[in-house]
Subunit: 147 residues, 2 copies
DNA sequence: TCCTGTTTGATAGTTATTATCCACTGATAA
DNA sequence: TTATCAGTGGATAATAACTATCAAACAGGA
């Protein structure tokens, strides 16, 4: 959530070229609190930038994400993963290899009820992320994704 | 995590036909603790059931999910959603319309460190799910998904 | 065993995302 | 200011995960 000057400085510091498109995507996203999709951003932006391409929005979001300027709300996992344990429990997800380990901890089951006006909460899930034992040990042999 | 007899009874109770494929998918998933994808289950199952189709695995997982017998580990969201707020915060996700609201609550930022052997945790996120104010009010006009 | 609504398997279609490719541009140096 | 050029953007093809379609086979009750 940075203003235009902070953005310019950050790009300069990180030696990443700051283009009109990158600034536009970041400022549009900054102005919204509805956690838009790439497509939704594209639809808003194309009015002011008719030549903008959807692929550019995707590439820009990825760049901004790598720079630590935007976050992805849901897990970046492309594939759904299933579990025969339907009882309440939580997960540790390895960002390098995709391994998912179970966490059974009653302290995570009872979290403070959030105060989101009018929202009727039916449950919650906690995702810890980091490196699994194997990937933490491995120097750089990143698999990125396992089936 | 039910045995064969419990599964038979549950299908009978819910009046859902129990096929060989449904039993096979459920038992394969029950026997694994690696949170497999549909494709991974299919790869394991096709050895014993060479005529099994991947589409059937998808349909079966959906059926089992609706019956409350399997859980999806990650959000079923098809589209990635982005956020310019990279500071630690959490989210309430409406299961009816896809709306995502921010939750700022320091009590959710400091959760008990989970004891997953060897796992190097770098962060966590909490997803509450339920119905947003609008959808909780609306009788049944479910939008299912908004862009 | 027979009957009928459901499910399966094969496959085509869809959707979100990524890769490719080349003209163009932002950042630096002259 | 202009020249240079690595990196970027736009157009579009390709990919990956999933979903729809539909005829044939099946499950479960009569
Ligand atoms: Mn689990
Ligand atoms: Mn947020
Ligand atoms: Zn790992
Ligand atoms: Zn809603």
């Amino acid at each position: 959530m940075k203003n235009r000057e902070e953005v310019r400085t950050l790009f300069k510091t990180k030696k990443v070229p700051l283009t009109h498109q990158r600034l536009a995507v970041y400022e549009e996203l900054s102005g919204r609190r509805d956690h838009p999709s790439a497509e939704a951003l594209y639809e808003s932006l194309r009015k002011a930038y008719p030549s903008l391409s959807l692929a550019t929005v995707y590439k820009t979001l990825q760049t901004l994400h790598e720079m630590g300027m935007v976050a992805r709300v849901d897990s970046p996992a492309a594939q759904a993963r299933y579990d025969a344990i339907v009882e309440t429990h939580h997960h540790a997800v390895c960002t390098a290899c995709g391994r998912i380990e179970d966490l059974f901890d009653p302290r995570l089951d009872a979290l403070p009820e959030p105060k989101a006006a009018g929202f009727v909460i039916s449950g919650h899930s906690v995702h810890f992320h980091g490196l699994c034992a194997k990937c933490a040990k491995a120097p750089s042999t990143r698999t990125i994704k396992e089936k």
